[in-house]
Amino acid sequence: MKNRIKEYRKQNKITQDDLARAVDVTRQTIISLENGKYNASLMLAHKIAVYFKVKIEDIFIFEEEE
């Protein structure tokens, strides 16, 4: 699953630490999400979408795995 967290973060001029604190996760989790190493749970995806005031599908790009 790809995501546009970094893009939205840069647009809103927010640091990884700020975002991490806002959605109650560690900065390492934000780094892993941005690098595509970790897929967020539905709950975290929702929190991030709410934080950026957008829909979940605007940030997270769902792709069916082969």
Binding site: A20, S32, L44
Partner: protein, 138 residues
Amino acid sequence: MKFVQKIKVRLIMGIVYIIIGAALTILNIFTQSKNDVLSMFGAIMLAIGVVYTIRNIRLMANDEAMKNRKIYENDERNVMLYKNARSIAFYLYIIAAGIAVMTLYLCNLPYEAQIVAYSVCALCVIYWITYFILRRKY
């Protein structure tokens, strides 16, 4: 359970460890039993208890540290890592125990091999019981 309550429980556990550790150490000194295992176990319990208690007292006194700890422990990536590490440890133990059982039999140590084999059986039984309980729950 709320995180603050969790920390309080851990604080109590730390104090219990200190009491048990101190009791074992004092018992070993006064009875002069020269039991190295008991002495070591007591010292380890005491050390763990002290570290545990100090850490939790600091957390209780500092709201920012408490919040950071809560985030760290509840972070979903960290939880996933704990679970994956436990799962891998379980499989590695089964493989290592299987190799150990065969090696012990080959070295003509059937009693020791049996103990290791029983430990694997016990783990598998616990795994299946837990699996069926969780399947009912979710």
